[in-house]
Every structure is written in C-alpha cells, then in structure tokens.
C-alpha cells in the first residue's frame, strides 16, 4: 500500500485573519517605526530635530489609530472590546498587546502635546518608557503569531526580528516620503534615512528567503505552506511584496543616496510601504490556506 490522501473533509473556513489583520501589522510598523527612527534622529541631531519632533507624534498617532480601528473592526463582537481590560487574561499576547498599545498611545499623546506647546522637556521625560512601549507594541503581534500553535511557520523569535525590521523599514520610508514632500530634511539626514531603509530591506529580505529555504524542514505541514507561499495561490502577493518592499527600494534608495537624486527615494519609499503590506498579507494568509485537519 502506497501513500494516502484526504478524500472527504469539511474543514472549517480557511482564512480566519484576512486583510484587516495585515493592515493592523502594516500600520503598526509605520507607527512604531516612526517612533524608533524619529527618536534616533532626535537624539543624534538635537539642534536639527524640529522635523522629527513634529512628525513622530503625528505619524505615530495616525497609524496607531488605523491599527486600533482595524483591530476593532476585525472583532466579531466589536462592542465588547472593553472586556479585554475588564476580564484581562494575561497569558494571552492579545491582552498584553492591548495594554501595551494603550500605554504607547498615551506616550504619543504626550509627544504630540509636547510638540504643540513647544515643551521639549515634556517629551524628553517620556523617551525611555516610550521606547519600551513602542518596542513591545511592535513585537506583541509576534507573540500572537507564536501562540498560534497550529501554524508552524510562525516562530516567535523570527517574527519578532522581522517585525522590528519592518518597523525600521516603514519608519524610514515614511520619513523619507514626508521629507521629500515638504523638503524639510537636510541631505545628511536623507542619506542616513536611506541607509536605514536599505539595511532594513536587505535584512528583512534575507529573513524571508531564509524562511523559504529552512521553514520547510520543520514538518510536512511547513513544507506545504512554503509551497503555497512560493508557488501557490499566495505567490503573487509574496513575490510582489518581495519585489516592491525590498528590491525596488534598495535599488532606488541606493541610487538616491549615492547620486544625490532624492526624487528616487520618494518612489522607493512608496514602493517599500506598498510592498510591506503585500508581504505581510502573504505571510499571514499562507499558513491559513491549509486545513489543519
């Protein structure tokens, strides 16, 4: 007797978490990335930090707002969202995330007030807790994916690094984009933002390619997921994301920083942000495309 295959099954619906969750992760990357990258420039160039002191809270609040909105819209009982605070179950990364993001929003509001009133010291006082809450806001989704026991290609440690790199990629792309539109960044800063974007894209691309090669060694299930991701129904999203999030920005931002043609950086940033959504979506839905039965 050779082989075996499932000939009848009525598995439950495939994709449980769809584009709303992809958008959650994407918007959160921009928000926390704007915080990390903005903080780096505020600390490094304290005399020329007006641009970052303005845009850090604005970008942070807009995109964390989008994150929270899509999170609540994705709930089947959206008006019961408050229960996550009243009946908090702290073994869940979802609960930890809700609390940490709430604290992060508070820090962003303080940063916004600091910019509005011109009280620089106010923001400086919350920099350390702000960094901690931004860090954990970035990685809590990796915790959720790690707790998704059935989806074997999602491994907490890899997802955590991937999400931190997504944040620096998205944050640098967002600042390059805003900087190109308003023309308020000096050349040194543009160049440095370009390096952050280039480095993040390169490392993130290496992680995804590494996962493609090594994830399939975990189990037969992981092998199938990689097949779906690379050659199956999710492949257009995945390879589209790889091209737009990593290859195009690396080439365009590379040209922009070396040839000092910063209009290329604008295109590279847009490409990075669009591609990041695509690749996050592909990575989210590929493991859900196989019935766990």
């Amino acid at each position: 007797m050779l082989g075996a295959e499932v000939t009848f099954d009525v598995a439950l619906p495939k994709v449980v978490w769809g584009w709303l969750v992809s958008t959650n992760m994407w918007a959160k990357s921009i928000s926390t990335g704007a915080f990390f990258v903005g903080l780096y420039f505020i600390k490094k160039y304290p005399d020329q930090d007006a641009f970052f002191r303005k845009w850090l809270p604005i970008l942070g609040l807009i995109f964390i707002g989008i994150t929270l909105l899509v999170t609540i819209l994705d709930l089947h009982h959206m008006f019961r969202f408050w229960k996550i605070f009243l009946f908090a179950h702290f073994t869940s990364a979802v609960t930890l995330g809700a609390w940490v993001v709430s604290a992060y929003v508070l820090i962003l509001l303080i940063a916004f007030w600091s910019w509005v009133t011109g009280n620089r010291k106010l923001f400086d006082r919350v920099v350390i807790p702000g960094f901690i809450f931004a860090f954990f806001s970035t990685i809590y989704t990796a915790g959720i994916l790690g707790q998704s026991t059935g989806r074997e290609v999602w491994i907490f440690s890899a997802e955590m690094i991937s999400m931190l790199l997504s944040a620096t990629l998205a944050g640098s792309a967002a600042y390059l984009l805003i900087g190109s539109i308003y023309g308020s960044l000096n050349e040194k800063m543009k160049k440095e933002l370009g390096y952050i974007l280039f480095g993040s894209a390169g490392l993130l691309a290496a992680m995804f390619i590494g996962e493609l090669v090594f994830a399939k060694m975990h189990s037969e299930y992981a092998e199938k997921v990689v097949e779906i991701l690379a050659f199956g129904e999710v492949a257009p999203w995945f390879w589209g994301g790889m091209f737009l999030a990593f290859i195009v920005p690396m080439v365009l931002v590379g040209i922009a920083t070396e040839k000092r043609k910063y209009e290329y950086a604008l295109l590279g940033s847009i490409s990075a942000l669009v591609g990041l959504w695509l690749i996050k979506h592909a990575w989210l839905i590929a493991p859900q495309s196989l019935p766990l039965s």
Binding site: L2, E5, D9, H76, S92, I144, G150, K216, M217, S293
Partner: protein, 211 residues
C-alpha cells in the same frame, strides 16, 4: 475527574451519525461543525483502504486556545472540559488561529467562538454526549480518565497502539485513538518529500518510490 474521549477506529464505519447527532443536539449552524468525520484513502488500486477519522475538540490539558483567549472566554471546567463562555467572547478568532486541530469556529448566529464541549450540558445531568449515544458501533468511548475502572481507562490500558493528534505540539490532548494508523491521523506524513533536511539528504530509490 478528568473526562476524555477515545475512538476505536477499527469500529468506525463513517456513517456520520455522530456528526449529525452533534449538530442536532447543539444547534450547530449549517456551515460549521463541532464534530466531523474525515475520509482518508490509502494505497493504489486494487490494494486500497479507506480510513474514517472522527475529529472533534481534543480538550487539551495544555490548551493553546485557553492560553491565547484574551478574555478567558475559553476556560477549563473542574472535570477537564475546555468550555466556552459565549457572553464573554469578543470574537477576535485568536482561538481559531491557536487551535492546531481546526476544532473551533465562529458561530454566525451568536458571533462568538464555539466548539465541542463534550456535551457539557448533558454530562451535568448524567447523560452521555450525543455522539456517543448515536454511534451504532460504540466506536466513541467516553469517560473519566482518572477512574481506573472506567471503560476508557481500561481501553487505554489494554491497547498498545494509543495515538493522539499532533503529539509533538505538547498540547496533551484528552482525545485518543486506537487501532488506527499514522496516515489516518496525519495524511501528510505518508509522503516525505525528497530534499535536504538539516542533517540528511532525503532521496528515494526508484524501485521503492516516494512514499
């Protein structure tokens, strides 16, 4: 008390009486299932065999769904059942993502997560779960795993081929199978693809084939 389930796969004939009785007992919506029977065909004509595997919540001792639920809507009962509190569920579907057995669904009528509860409402009044009652061959064996005199405990003691689904995930399921085969529980395991693994190169000889 630690309630558990055992399915004697040699007795199951795929009649689906358990699945139908479960739907009727628990008002399970049309597109959802708390219990379903999967068919797995093995072999090549004329040497073929069909396996029937009833699938339901495994009521794991280390339940990933309980751990990930942000509001404790999924919780353990003192008798080991992993139960759902529909009034508390916020419908985030994390439990569906965490369950490695695809045993949880969102009920379209209540918008809350739902799954097999071993018919907790029947057990409470001394009745057996609906699927156990409906099974014409007594393939479903239900009882207290802590009681050495219970039918399920005796079955577990007498059989050496006790299996659970995905034991490597350390969820400690309280749902067992006997007289089955690896391919019945994990059809993907029947095919080990060629290629490199971390330490070896898997390559099949032509006369043996890839399975």
């Amino acid at each position: 008390m630690r309630l558990g389930f055992l399915v004697d796969l040699s007795r199951c004939m795929g009649c689906m009486a358990c699945a139908v009785s479960c739907k009727a007992e628990n008002n399970v919506p049309l597109e959802s299932w708390r219990l379903r029977v999967k068919y797995i065909d093995q072999g090549e004509f004329p040497e073929t065999k069909r396996h029937y595997v009833p699938l339901r919540c495994n009521h794991c001792e280390n339940a990933p769904c309980e751990r990930i639920c942000p509001v404790s809507a999924l919780h353990y009962l003192p008798n080991g059942i992993v139960n759902v509190d529909h009034t508390r569920c916020i419908g985030c579907a994390s439990c569906m993502m965490a369950c490695p057995y695809n045993a949880i669904y969102i009920d379209p009528l209540t918008n809350s997560a739902d799954k097999c509860t071993y018919c907790a409402h029947r057990i409470e009044v001394g009745l057996m779960p609906a699927c156990v009652v409906a099974c014409p061959t007594h393939a479903n064996i239900f009882g207290d795993l802590d009681d050495p005199e219970s039918e399920i405990s005796k079955y577990l003691q007498e059989h050496r081929d006790v299996m659970v689904r995905k034991p490597e995930l350390n969820t400690k399921p309280k749902h067992f199978y006997v007289r089955g085969s690896t391919v019945a529980l994990d059809p993907l395991a029947s095919e080990r693809p060629e290629g490199f693994t971390l330490f070896t190169e898997v390559k099949f000889l032509e006369h043996i084939g890839g399975h």
